[in-house]
């Protein structure tokens, strides 16, 4: 068996960033970030698409010229005719697309795609079903542990399994817009207040504990997932990709840190320190990876082998 290098994927931007911000962001990613695959496109809210849609062709061209593999992400909860049409249109793209709702599957089945964390792939049977229809990479829901993802990866070796490693965790999607509700508005006349919060709006408990963040119809964790595996932990369980989810913090530095970690140039402790020097929107957590509540931070996480022994 050849030992594969674990690849880095940049997930789609969840937040309502302006076209100029998106262009600047992806220019730096293309020029400077040691990232293999880059997702583009709107996944959270179809109402934002008229703003960002015109920006994508140039962004994609530039990323591809920089040697990145570009994946077109599709909406997590398409509902309107226009949203459904957009999913359908994107499904015909020659590039890989990311399916985040079953809506995209009928028009894409038979051609290669990846599945994002909004699609419920919880076990090897569901994964194999999707692989048989064209899934090449699977990024399972964030609540699944590394042990569970590893089990799927070993049962379904044709696909790359990808762990959501960095960024605020996407925890829920709704028909209701919480930014609109927060500002006394309704979704249908929302005034795009979500654009004021490029990392999401922090949601604290009544006694000021940091807890969640809202981003339009999406709810995220306030805390930042920072899954920093020990060397060999990923290859031992067959995980081939880590996903970094864009925040306003310096994602080039985040990517460099993860690349250094995966290449054995930094250990998890020093990688955690390097990340803590960036302006992260919340404290670092990694509980989900180890089968614990997502908000927990395991400072000395047990390795994969030990986890596997505990489970069997």
């Amino acid at each position: 068996m050849t030992v594969q290098k674990v690849a880095l994927t940049l997930g789609p931007v969840f937040f309502h960033w302006s076209p100029a911000r998106l262009a600047d962001f992806y220019r730096r990613i293309g020029d400077e970030a040691p990232i293999d695959r880059v997702h583009v496109g709107e996944v959270v809210c179809g109402k934002r698409m008229p703003f960002s849609d015109p920006a994508w062709p140039d962004i994609i061209e530039r990323l591809e010229r920089a040697g990145k593999e570009v994946v077109i992400s599709t909406l997590a909860a398409p509902a309107t005719v226009r949203e459904r049409r957009s999913v359908d249109d994107l499904s015909t793209d020659e590039r890989l697309i990311e399916i985040n709702d079953i809506t995209a599957l009928p028009s894409r089945a038979g051609r290669p795609f990846v599945t994002g964390p909004f699609l419920n792939v919880y076990n090897e049977a569901a994964a194999q079903f999707l692989i048989d229809r064209g899934a090449r990479s699977i990024c399972p829901p964030v609540e699944l542990s590394l042990a569970a993802i590893g089990h799927m990866a070993q049962a379904c070796q044709e696909a790359d399994f990808e762990v959501f490693a960095f960024g605020r965790l996407p925890l829920a999607i709704s028909g209701r817009c919480y930014h609109a509700r927060h500002h006394g508005l309704h979704k249908d006349s929302c005034q795009f207040t979500c654009e004021k919060d490029p990392d999401g709006l922090a949601v604290d408990t009544l006694d000021d504990q940091e807890f969640l963040a809202i981003n339009g119809v999406q709810t995220l964790s306030n805390q930042v997932q920072a899954f920093l595996p020990v060397p060999g932990e990923l290859t031992a369980c067959g995980v081939r990709r880590l996903r970094l989810s864009p925040q306003t913090a310096d994602m080039v530095e985040v990517a460099r840190t993860y690349r250094a970690l995966l290449d054995g140039r930094e250990d998890p402790q020093s990688a955690r320190f390097l990340l803590s020097c960036l302006e992260l929107p919340g404290v670092m957590v990694d509980g989900y990876a180890y089968g614990k509540p997502g908000w927990e931070a395991t400072t000395s996480a047990p390795g994969w082998t030990q986890l596997r022994q505990e489970r069997t």
Binding site: A76, A77, A79, R84, D88, D101, I102, T103, A104, L105, P106, F118, N120, Y122, N123, E124, A125, A126, F129, L130, P141, V142, E143, L144, H151, M152, A155, L169, L171, A172, I173, S174, G175, R176, C177, Y178, R181, H182, H186, K187, L201, A202, D204, T205, L206, D207, D208, Q209, F211, L212, I214, T219, S221, G287, Y288, G291, K292, P293, G294, W295
Partner: protein, 332 residues
């Protein structure tokens, strides 16, 4: 136009509530096995295989159907537990299996072509493309609609699909798209998709002092109550939080769904069945709610006016606050 009568689908958390629901006029009851394969995996609830078979016999003898919910997502390495639950439901003579996981749907479609498959709300299928996929791939006959659609969208959707739809009318209300919410596991480690529980009771604590009561979930404060005020259950998405400079019930007020006033509208929108949430509820509650909705549905079908329907439903507010949820556009 529709000609069949509206089907009233009622919760049965235990054999006793199954009998109560059937006797109160349920056209169908839904229930689950006593394990993590169903989305109401609470202590003291649900059915053994023998109880399920007995429940089916009782329901059938009284002209009601039994729909078995196997609607969590199979755990890696243990999907056979979910497949065996489906086999057991068929063996018990159930009228339909309600499932969300592709692994479960695929197993039933391949091995039990004779049983009806209903797509659980946990699959959150809300578009013609998505519903079409489940119908064509697995032979799904009915889709339980996610609680995010307006009544107008339900009508539009029904015109675009070729399977039955079932819509929630009463009980607990998820404000997040069902099956796409990990808030509970983020706070507690237990989730609807994986464990069949949301905001589980063993993670709840109440702390009382002179300022009143604080309700916490896994240590996170979900709400506070002044001294003497009625204390609610800390369901995560119905909590009070701070965002920006505001403190509010950011996601949803502590309300439950009551779309009783919309029975006629949902029927006109092409909905085949109306669903009452509440498998965790007791016999008395189920009897009362089912009896009331039976009368309301019958009155709607006999063409009674809204005043009469409202009068029938008037007793169902329980003092708690209610909403018609996403069925009205302004909810969004």
């Amino acid at each position: 136009m529709r000609s069949k009568r509206i089907e009233l689908v009622c919760p049965a958390g235990t054999p006793a509530t199954l009998r109560a629901a059937v006797q109160a006029g349920a056209d169908a009851v839904y229930c689950g096995f006593r394990d993590e394969t169903n989305a109401r995996n609470f202590p003291g609830l649900n059915f053994s295989t023998e109880e399920m078979a007995e429940g089916v016999r009782f329901a059938h003898a009284h002209g009601s159907k039994v729909l078995v919910a196997i609607n969590t997502f199979g755990r890696v390495g243990s999907v056979d537990l979910w497949r065996k639950a489906a086999d057991a439901a068929v063996g018990c003579g159930a009228d339909a299996i309600i499932a969300a996981d592709i692994a479960v749907l695929d197993h039933v479609a391949r091995n039990h072509k004779q049983i009806r498959l209903h797509l659980s709300v946990q699959a959150a299928a809300a578009t013609p493309e998505s519903i079409g996929f489940y119908a064509e791939t697995f032979g799904v006959r009915r889709v339980v609609l996610p609680r995010v659609l307006t009544i107008h969208e339900v009508a539009t959707l029904n015109r675009a699909i070729h399977v039955e739809t079932e819509a929630f009318v009463f009980g607990g209300l998820c404000v997040m798209t069902e099956g796409r919410c990990y808030l509970s596991s983020y706070a507690t480690g237990k989730s609807p998709n994986l464990h069949g529980v949301c905001s589980p009771p063993e993670m709840v604590s109440y702390e009382e002092d002179i300022d009143g009561t604080v309700a916490r979930l896994s240590g996170f404060t979900i709400d506070q109550y002044s001294p003497g005020a009625p204390v609610g259950y800390p369901t995560l998405c119905k909590g009070r939080f701070k965002a920006g400079d505001k403190t509010s019930y950011l996601f949803e007020d502590p309300v439950s769904l009551n779309a009783g006033s919309m029975i006629a509208g949902l029927s006109a929108a092409g909905v085949t069945a109306l669903k009452i949430e509440g498998r965790q509820r007791g016999k008395g509650y189920v009897t009362e709610v089912v009896r009331t909705f039976r009368r309301a549905v019958d009155a709607v079908e006999q063409g009674s006016d809204t005043i009469e329907i409202d009068r029938i439903l008037a007793g169902q507010s329980e003092g708690g606050r209610q909403t018609t949820g996403a069925y009205r556009k302004s909810w969004r």
